[in-house]
């Protein structure tokens, strides 16, 4: 069985900006291990020379004219749902030590 370690779970959680208590880490370690173990069976398939499919039926990115369009009041609208605002900006906790 493909085992994912407790440390690995904590490392991935940090990358994903998530935090878990000890009990949750325990459960996740077990669940992720069993899911990854199942997924391992992809290794059975030879994919040499096979191109990946990232999108289906999307052949090219459509282009449009580069025209100016009005977005009046868009800044105020964008801020409307923000949990914390300062003037015309989103406010976050201090990042400079």
């Amino acid at each position: 069985m493909r085992k994912i370690s407790r440390e690995e779970v904590l490392r991935i959680a940090r990358l994903a900006r998530l935090e878990f208590n000890d009990e949750e880490v325990e459960v996740l370690t077990h669940q992720l291990s069993s899911i990854l173990d199942y997924i391992e069976k992809l290794k059975e398939i030879n994919t040499e020379g096979v191109e990946p499919t990232f999108y289906t039926f999307v052949t090219e990115t459509p282009m449009r004219e580069d025209e100016e369009r009005k977005a009046e009041g868009a800044d105020q609208l964008a801020l409307r749902e923000a949990p914390s605002v300062y003037k015309k900006f989103f406010r976050v906790p201090k990042v400079i030590k």
Partner: protein
């Protein structure tokens, strides 16, 4: 129960056009039904009575001027994944519990322009991640056919609303079966068109290369009518297709005589419940009666589809859901440190299934694993797509089950995520290949629960898909007695 509730959309369309009923009257009937059954079903997160009232009045004025569109004056519900201007849009999550979008998505704009009457936003699995609607922050949805059972997911609220006669159509989304499977569990019709057929602009993203809007109705003709309204190219979605939208509902009548319908042999070896297998047998008979020929085909990479999906979908989700950081909208859990603020916000805002998938996706994309997991999965996806291409060289439509079982009990599968994932084996390959699929009721199992059958079409051949489903439905002539729900309470059940 008012008999008008049981009618199909196309029948109501006629009554409205003939002015035998008005849109505000119809809305009132639906709202009364919602009031009665919603305490049992929990299919709606938000009921938009006032907005619907104004829309119904407006629609009635247009009807008086002898205008008509498929949706004009028709009560409709939307999965709470569609962003709706000034109407709370939660995506079934605590992190968006109080989010009020500043704009309407393209599909919503089209529904409004066509005169649809939006009565509410449907409950759903959080961020569309789930197959049972048990992952909603707003509580599970109950199946109208048996209140102790799940309606399927993730568009479980949408399917329960349509089967529960709260509305005539609901829009959902389907990333790995999220429209087709709940439609099957609730005895209604669920269409997921080809990737790119309907714009995704204004739909909260889960897995962008797989997500597609779907339509849930009580009959195939209704589905065709609604697809005409919402399909088409959108400059705001660069993955939407410029292929013209045909008048689907006018292309149904011609039969399917001489059509070849492929049944993949692998579909029958994946642990189907006996009653589901019987449904397949019944469907074969019906199709033969309609003049079609059943042909064996093969999808040799089917056994790998769930693995591929559970790498690709969580990977895309982990990236899409990075935006929920407590800065621009949604929940924020305060902290003096920025990183800690992100972590606490996300830890408290997301439920267990969403976190599990973010973890899985982050793992699959992380340094050292990208080639082994993510890239490998995308290559196997190519092989799955080629399996379909090869099968479609021989046949017009592919048929199969929707789910290995009928609706299961609430709580039955929640402890083992992998078992829940495996139940999507017949719907997932269709999303991976980008094809269109539809779920249509074929009959009922011994417990009285609906059994669905799935049809799959060639890219952008929804005309053929709907035509096949329509003639299947017509020939099958299944009589459905919709559950009344007005005399039982959950505790009595």
């Amino acid at each position: 129960m008012n008999e008008l509730l049981k009618k199909n959309l196309y029948e109501i369309r006629e009554l409205l056009d003939k002015k035998e009923i008005s849109s505000p009257e119809l809305l009132q009937i639906c709202l009364e039904r919602i009031e009665k059954v919603e305490p049992k079903l929990n299919a709606l997160i938000t009921i938009t009575e006032d907005i619907a009232g104004a829309q119904a009045n407006e629609a009635q004025k247009r009807i008086e001027r002898n205008e008509t569109t498929p949706l004009l004056g028709i009560p409709i519900t939307l999965k709470d994944i569609f962003v709706t201007k000034d109407i709370r849009t939660t995506c079934g999550s605590k992190i968006l519990e109080n989010y009020i979008p500043q704009y309407d998505g393209t599909v919503v704009e089209k529904v409004i322009a066509a005169g649809g009457v939006m009565v509410g936003k449907n409950n759903m699995d959080e961020f569309a991640m789930g197959s049972s609607n048990e992952n909603s922050y707003f509580g599970p949805v109950r199946n109208p056919w048996d209140l102790e059972r799940v309606p399927g997911g993730s568009s479980g609220g949408s399917a329960a609303s349509v089967a529960g006669l709260e509305c005539y159509v609901s829009l959902g989304t389907d990333t790995g079966g999220s429209v087709r499977q709940p439609a099957s569990f609730c005895g209604v019709v669920g269409l997921k068109p080809t990737y790119g057929r309907i714009s995704r602009y204004g739909i909260i993203a889960f897995a962008s290369s797989l997500d597609q809007v779907g339509i849930i109705t009580r009959c195939v003709r209704d589905c065709a009518m609604v697809l005409e309204v919402i399909a088409g190219y959108d400059p705001k979605d660069s993955t939407s297709s410029p292929i013209p939208v045909p008048p689907y509902s006018r292309l149904l009548d011609e039969g399917i005589k001489g059509w070849k319908i492929g049944l993949p042999v692998e579909f029958l070896s994946e642990g189907l419940e006996e009653d589901v297998l019987k449904g397949i047998e019944r469907a074969k008979e019906v199709l033969k009666e309609a003049g079609a020929e059943i042909v064996d085909v093969s999808l040799p990479h089917l056994p790998y589809a769930v693995s591929v999906y559970y790498i690709i979908a969580p990977s895309e989700a982990s990236s899409n859901l990075a935006r929920y950081d407590g800065v621009r909208y949604g929940l924020r859990v305060n902290s003096s440190d920025l990183i800690e603020m992100y972590m606490k916000t996300r830890a408290q805002g997301f439920g267990p299934e969403v976190k599990r998938r973010i973890m899985l996706g982050t793992y699959a994309l992380s340094a050292g694993y990208y080639d082994a997991y993510y890239l490998k999965a995308q290559k196997v996806r190519t092989l799955i797509k080629k399996d379909f291409e090869k099968a479609f060289e021989k046949v017009d439509i592919i048929m199969g089950p929707v789910s290995p079982t009928t609706a299961f009990k609430i709580g039955e599968k929640t402890s083992d995520p992998l078992q829940m994932y495996l139940s999507d084996i017949f719907t997932i390959p269709v999303n991976l290949a980008g094809l269109g699929g539809i779920s249509v009721p074929v009959g009922f199992d011994r417990k009285g629960l609906p059994v669905g059958i799935q049809f799959i079409c060639k890219p952008y051949r929804e005309d053929e898909l709907l035509r096949c489903a329509y003639h299947f439905e017509k020939t099958n002539a299944l009589k459905i007695e919709w559950p009344s729900l007005e005399d039982v309470s959950p505790s009595q059940k």
